[in-house]
Symmetry: C2
Amino acid sequence: MGKKTTVGIAILGHGTVGSEVLRLMGEYSEDLTHRIGGELEIKGVAVSDLDKHKDSPAAHLMTTDAMSLINREDVDIVVEVIGGIDYPRQLVLAALKAGKSVVTANKALVAAHAAELAEAADEANVDLYYEAAVAAAIPVIGPLRRSLAGDRVKSVMGIVNGTTNFILDAMDSTGASYDDMLAEATRLGYAEADPTADVEGYDAASKAAILATLAFHTRVTADDVYREGISKITAADINAAKNAGHTIKLLAICERVGDTVSARVHPTLIPRDHPLASVNKSFNAIFVEAEAAGRLMFYGNGAGGAPTASAVLGDLVGAARNKVHGGRAPGESTYANLKIADFGDVSTRYHVDMDVHDQLGVLARIAEQFSNAGISLRTVRQEEKGENARLIVVTHHAYERDLAGVVEKLKSMDEVKSVNSVIRLESE
Amino acid sequence: MGKKTTVGIAILGHGTVGSEVLRLMGEYSEDLTHRIGGELEIKGVAVSDLDKHKDSPAAHLMTTDAMSLINREDVDIVVEVIGGIDYPRQLVLAALKAGKSVVTANKALVAAHAAELAEAADEANVDLYYEAAVAAAIPVIGPLRRSLAGDRVKSVMGIVNGTTNFILDAMDSTGASYDDMLAEATRLGYAEADPTADVEGYDAASKAAILATLAFHTRVTADDVYREGISKITAADINAAKNAGHTIKLLAICERVGDTVSARVHPTLIPRDHPLASVNKSFNAIFVEAEAAGRLMFYGNGAGGAPTASAVLGDLVGAARNKVHGGRAPGESTYANLKIADFGDVSTRYHVDMDVHDQLGVLARIAEQFSNAGISLRTVRQEEKGENARLIVVTHHAYERDLAGVVEKLKSMDEVKSVNSVIRLESE
């Protein structure tokens, strides 16, 4: 590696991000040359359908043969902005094996196949960059890989999916239903035609896996992440949260649990004065707590063509600098080799909303279920609800296992008509 | 460079930061070895007075001869945490010239002598790291040098001095005077015995110079930064700000002004719902606005032994990785070579507080001064104040030059008893 004056680039994909990367590479080319100490030269852009892009100013660079483009001798760095898993995995592996450095924005790919990709990069002694895979332009991969490399991270907690944050924020401010606000998000382009990956937390789980891997220097894949989406959150949940001075956010939470590591994604109640509570619209924010550094927060645009392209270009400059000057970005670091925590061993607080028969002694019998499981209650609120009563219980810290057991028992009690929702609660 | 398995470290200084760096290097040594791919070995600690540290667990490593320590053949990286300018400058230059990489937390040194230091590092092909020089553990140097290397920064604005933020926050929440809250800050260890560097904005100006240099790829030194401290801020100013829904923060603001660059540090009114308004105690927060990334915020502990040591260790891991694996951190980037803006060309909004004689037509004559200078007014508030009236004017955007002219004229008007304060105002 090293000592080139021209760095050949192949771009795989020409969607929202790919076209923005191309545009900015043109607009910033003079700056990029200065910053790299060498020139970037786009050797080709791989697309699936040439016709679709025939009016693009980059049409003359396009090809449908991604594999041949990657293997061109004058290509030094491959930028993968296609999305999906299987096809980009083949391309990225081929690129790494051919000695090309890779910049990818593909969280699903990295979260599923980081080990295989890192190994290929190590073997070829090339770079694998993926800052854009988590929270787009917000620098968080870089800080975890480098700035915090001399510290011990205790936890990472954040809003890492813009679509769900938009929907929850809109439900919170309008009082509208999940379905209506999902429709609104789709109309405004915040949600995709098939919103499953976002609203069911798959996207956030991929990001949680990447963050946990970097934070704790251990392997965590998307499959290791406990995942609950937001599609069951009702206007009533939002309203109850509001009345209690809380708001609901879809959080990714990665933490050490004894000698194991836990990563989870689920709707979470947080107090309205929590810094994450004011992260609105489709913005992202990530808290990192480290032993020496204390608490750090990173905030910004977590999605969109330009912010994602900004992160891709930052990585591209890094990879290109290494091609010109020699050297390599920090490789993968998974030496800690920690086990994934049993989800039952994870501890947090819970907000349990149920309808109960309005009879003498009901509260005592319900409270007994909690105390039998060793779970103490922080607040209990009872209100009339037609012929029944609505009971909202907030617990102190308890184990998932114990709480799940109590909920099963509550559901089987004659006095309990329904357990409407169980939402986890985090506070500072 | 490259391919070592043991990296020799010299630490210059054993104060709050130096002793914490030593402690953490011991506590984290196993992790650091894994992350670097080689072992850190402390070859010596330079102090000014051996007696003072004779009970330290690192006493056997100490020497008063910093220069000999630096020049030891088995020292690869020098960590400078002494503070001051002239003496550490000699040491850091000697280290770089001897082919040692340098990690420093010294903002005053970097802001005053970056060009000379960068040149020495380039000539010797070694690293110069200084993440801890701005906002301690908050990663902002790294993100500007790397993550945003493919973007164009438009502005950087932030709270970069914990001492002044503590004092202003305490004045805001208690209504107490500047002197009382400075005394409180001193008592609690947030302010030094001689608080000048903090309260008069010199510390923040050094940081502004470093941030502007990195953000705009041009040379900005501490002398180029317009600077006003907080020692003239009164309880009345804070109270007036509060009544208008604002708070006062000491901000460092770096921005492009046409083809020039401006960096300034001064007390600034911001709306209470501005994200920087809720940065309390001695915390720091920095906003970066870039063309593609949009607005990013970085928040955390901006001072203290452990947070500063965290940043130093992050840099140390980076420098050590390069000693082991080869390669070099991005060198200095000042190709843009922009002029420093004439301060008169800087434009912002102003809050002007004056006592005026309570006569017919006074307001009209004062308003005329502003309009003659082409400055339009956003709000005007007049209230009784004994026999006189107090007049508070908030302008729309105006040039420093024009505003200064108006203030001179106001002071010479018979109708104006006194101009009590002129405070700049920023909003989103």
